[in-house]
């Protein structure tokens, strides 16, 4: 079975000289959900930004190979790869840039070349799926943090991607919002990559975890094993901090 994502020996250095990734190997199989764990600055977000070519596609600062659905991530394949990978950013405020919810969710499908009627239809279906069907005419800045996150996810689902990448999806969410997001993600069939510090949330969605430290993968395995190995659990039964 061909993996959806295959990364080999990925290295990346920012312009200021900071080494963010130092030889990362990774794979994601169809239908799989993987949590990326690790301290702030360990390279998780830099890593996921390579998956759809937001970093590294121009060859600057990076080495190694990234393949998505068998296609190398380079300038030639960017449009096709961005159809395959939907990325939900940490701060939904930055992702919701259109004046109304419906227009924002339709932004991706319109960029795929769909006509306005089909894009609207897809946007409405995606909003319905995340429970925001009644918010089409609302302005994004009138939404709560949980609603913004749902609309941001709808904006990605409307593009019908095969892989979802979510960067710190529980940031700014209260416990009910967090629970409702977990329910939503559990019911989505796409393969998922979750960048998170929230291990209990990760446990509810993912089966495998990859632990990043100093730009390298320190461990990969079942989420329970990885969390125990690095003392990354914040629940009462676990330890309070990473090592």
């Amino acid at each position: 079975m061909q993996p959806l994502i295959e990364v080999r020996n990925l290295r990346y250095r920012y312009e200021d000289g900071t080494v963010a990734l130092n030889g990362v190997d990774f794979h994601l199989d169809p239908g799989e959900s993987v949590a990326l764990l690790g301290a702030n600055g360990s390279g998780k977000t830099t890593f996921v930004m390579h998956l759809n070519g937001l970093l590294g596609a121009d060859g600057g600062g990076g080495q190694g190979s990234v393949e998505v659905c068998g296609m190398p991530v380079d300038k030639k394949n960017l449009a096709a790869i961005r159809r395959k990978i939907g990325m939900v950013f940490q701060d939904s405020e930055s992702q919701l840039f259109m004046p109304t919810v419906l227009e924002d969710v339709a932004f991706g499908p319109l960029n795929l070349g769909l006509d306005a009627a089909t894009a609207t239809e897809r946007a409405r279906a995606a909003l319905d799926r995340v429970g925001m069907a009644g918010a089409t005419a609302r302005a994004p800045y009138h939404l709560s943090a949980g609603e913004k996150k749902r609309v941001a996810i709808a904006g990605i689902l409307a593009m019908e991607p095969e892989i979802l990448v979510l960067d710190e999806p529980t940031t700014f969410l209260d416990p009910p919002g967090r629970r409702s997001l977990a329910d939503l993600l559990q019911n989505l069939p796409q393969a998922k990559i979750l960048v998170t510090h929230d291990t209990s949330f990760a446990r509810s969605i993912c089966t495998r975890a990859v632990f990043f430290r100093n730009g390298t993968v320190q461990a990969s395995g079942s989420i329970g094993d990885v969390v125990d190995q690095f003392g990354w659990d914040l629940t009462p039964a676990g330890n309070a901090s990473g090592r």
Partner: protein, 243 residues
Amino acid sequence: MHHVVLERWSRRSSPMHRSDPRAKIVDLLVFLVVLATAHRGLPLIAAALGALLCCAIVWSRLPLGGALARAAVVLPFSLAFAAVCWLAGDPARGVHLAVKSYLSALAVLLVVSTTPLPILLRGLEALGAPRFLLMVAQFLYRYLFVISEEAQHMAKAAQSRGATAAGMLARAARFQAAAGALAVLFARSYGRAAEIHRAMLARGFQGHFETVATLRFRKADLALAIAGSLGPVALRFALERCC
């Protein structure tokens, strides 16, 4: 904030709200040219054009007092220039400047308050306005609120550490600190812009902005465009002949 109120007004229902934005933009341009180029008999012409605007505001089911008050936002700027004219020995020019700028602002406010922003931008685009400028306007409108909130948070953080607005300006060191805070706000806005750009790229943006808003120019819109253009022109010619 002003733009939140205007947006709420723009979502109301009236014949003016339902009109095609192109008809309203053409009317607005004609109105502005008629007003800006009027000299002879200006007090009478300004009064007549002001009355015309008030009728249009009432017809659009907008609160007249609120609209008149909000248009006064330009007065601090135009009154400053009017004061310069006064000091230069040309008080009539100063009064003309203040009156023209106020009525122009009222006319713009009428169009903005009866046309949701995406539709207005679509209308401007259809009339040949540069896409890039429209995109900048759209982002400015969307993120003004967010940047203002960030500024308020920073102000609160400064106040919680004993800073006051008067104190910030009173001493050189504190003034430097206030200037530094502005620089931080600028850097945050820049960071926000970079994030938004990444989010757009991740959803397939390739430099061309598509929206789902579609326009239909009906007979009623043609009638509005003609009546709204001829009205101010006829008023001005009639009043100039009287003077």
